[in-house]
């Protein structure tokens, strides 16, 4: 075997030589692992997973989005809580969720096991949609709609936290989603 060179000095002569037994074994194993991770993301999870990040994206003018949210809120409003409208859209419908400094509006009342198409956007700066306690997170940009088909499988009160810094009131930006049983 050729003489090995210090990392501090320039190698002399031919410094490329065949892999040793150790290297061959390690290389084979890590290539298999990299391919396994690739297959998991591209084929296995898309086939079996319930949680895909296949965002539908649209461009939208913030003013237009605010109008759409207002119309949606008007149409399905069922009450009010702490000054926020509570909205109960029918299963299968489009659901608008509007982010602005420093609130998520409206409060959504959804039915367990039903699918809704969430259309989320911002009126001013970037915000982060963080659904807790399940810890599901999406980036919300002004001028873009983040579209997601979502189905709740458990009842209860969920919190929407903002997890992208949006200004000095960032930490008070909390919204709510209430999931109830079908017959409610």
């Amino acid at each position: 075997m050729e003489e090995r060179t210090s990392t501090w000095l320039a190698p002399r002569g031919i410094w490329w030589h065949r892999f040793g037994r150790d290297e061959k074994m390690w290389l084979a194993v890590i290539i298999v692992w990299a391919v396994a991770m690739f297959v998991m993301i591209m084929f296995i999870w898309p086939a079996i997973g319930q949680q895909q990040a296949d965002i539908q994206s649209y461009r939208v003018d913030p003013v237009e989005f605010s109008t759409l949210t207002a119309q949606f809120t008007e149409k399905y409003k069922v009450g009010e809580e702490n000054g926020f409208p509570v909205v109960a859209p029918p299963p299968g419908s489009d659901v608008y969720l509007q982010a602005s400094r420093f609130q998520w509006t409206p409060i959504l009342k959804l039915q367990k096991g039903e699918t809704y198409r969430f259309l989320i956007s911002s009126l001013d700066v970037e915000h982060g949609f963080s659904l807790q306690p399940d810890n599901v997170n999406f980036q919300i940009l002004p001028g873009y709609i983040t579209g997601l088909k979502m189905t709740p499988h458990e009842t209860g009160e969920f919190t929407v936290v903002c997890n992208e810094f949006c200004g000095l009131g960032h930490h008070v930006m909390v919204g709510r989603i209430i999931v109830t049983d079908d017959d409610n």
Partner: protein, 594 residues
Amino acid sequence: MAAIAQEFPGYRMKIAIWRRCGVTGLVIDRSAERLIMVNAVTAVLFLAFGGTMALTIALTRWRAVHLLPADWFYRLVGAHGLTMLIFWILFFEVAALIFGSTVMINAPMVAPTLAWVYYSMMLGGALLVETTALSGHATVMMTAYPPLKATSWFYLGLLIFAVGALLALFHFIINVTVARVRGQVQTLPLLTFALLAAAIIGIWTLASGAAAIFPAWLWAIGAKSSVDPGVYRLLFWGFGHGAQQINLAAMIGIWYALATLTTGAKPLNEGLSRFAFLLYIVFINMGSIHHILVDPGLGGWLRGVNTSYFVYAAVLGSMIHAFTIPASVEVALREKGYGRGLFGWLKRAPWGEPGFSVLVLSFWLFGVMGGISGVIMGSVQVNMIQHNTLISPAHFHMTVVAGTTLAFMGFTYYLVPLIFQREHILPRWARIQPYIFALGMTIFGLGMGFAGHQGVPRRDWDPTFPGAPLATDIFKTTTVNISLACLGIGAIIAVIGGTMFVINTAGTVFFGKRSAQPNIGKISPLAFATSATTVPIVAGGTGEGEREHTKHTMQTGGFEAPGTLVLAFAWLLLFVILYAYSWFELSSVSWSIK
């Protein structure tokens, strides 16, 4: 003298502006030396400043202390990020680049004036950014996503800094090219090769940063009506993530260098190690997409392929280094006679030398906590349950702080005495400091990571949401409290370790006893021996022979580094378990998301 003129032809006419190092025998251009000094000292000052801010931020996150008011918290989170991720790291890297393109290849510095120009630009830009951020005119975090707006001076400062840093990278390439053309160097030493990889990655990185910041600056001065937030994020992360890949390449180069310095380790396969750096250059820019996996605007196929296929070619590079570096140490120590059993070499390794302890600690923390968490987070679907939670800063604190910063500290322990020709003022601190810093960062990283796993958002002053109309107590749990307390306690320990480093380094620079042959501990003469038969020129160390110990050898079954193989497989097993667990965690989300 004649001999030096021969190997250093640039100096035939200009005697007395170089010196030969009394310890390593390397030839040092005085103008390069001054610039290494200035950049390294500037870097350490930024580190000290950033560390002070780090402490106040961590003590705010620790629920029981909650030190800062909201406005100062947000202000300092932004300034801390810029100071550490950009200024400390890049000033140090410029010092390393100058070292690698002059001292390491026995070549003089071409156009030192250029180096002073970019140093001034970088310093001026950095100070402008710090001033605007600390005075509350740029509370936009280091990412400064439009349409969140800062004063135009903030963007201008970033631009000046980025252009200065670009010049530094070009200067490195010019220096190496000129040395090559003059025949002063043929094949580059591995450390310089790694720095070259860092410089190449750095050029597109900084260009991408300038392409993001320049329109934002035009927008801030009113010359442009708006900036597309989606396009900005794409370009910004070409810089924001790419900049960390400069660190990665430089840090791994320094790992190789420290391994050689402290144990005489030589890469098992020079070609394989260099090929791994090549993989970084070609593929690691895909890491930029990891920040926008849950953004609107990108197609699903693009996000999937980018993160699952191309980037793994770069991950392969890391996994190659993860084996070859410890394997080279094992082979070197076995050759010295420490061959008993699978791990006898580890037991006899120089754990008291800061260079070696730093190598092991930063390698371990980077690989186990930083690397694995990064690959997992970079999986497009798993990213959904991690994006913008505290897992994200936990990941990059383990890579950039526990990994890169610790590695740079270890390198400094050798660079500073040799370049400044002074004795360490507190050599004992240097021995224990890496352990304290690593312990602190481990507690910090675990606390921050577990808090993130429970959903606690990053960049958030108070996750109990005081004053929120729809406040909730989802994060008012014991486990969150304990996690955030670990974050705070870990930060205190790490800052103590960091302070020890800064005091020793700054003290050595300004007050250390002058010496042409400073004691830098026991370094391996093999690091500077041009061949096995040439008598090492190293004057440092204790003079202990290399082969005085009784040889213990074991049957290694044809493997050169069996101990490392076992350790590497154990690491891979941990990786597989954590990877599988993250998918399990994703599958237990109670919502279907399509």
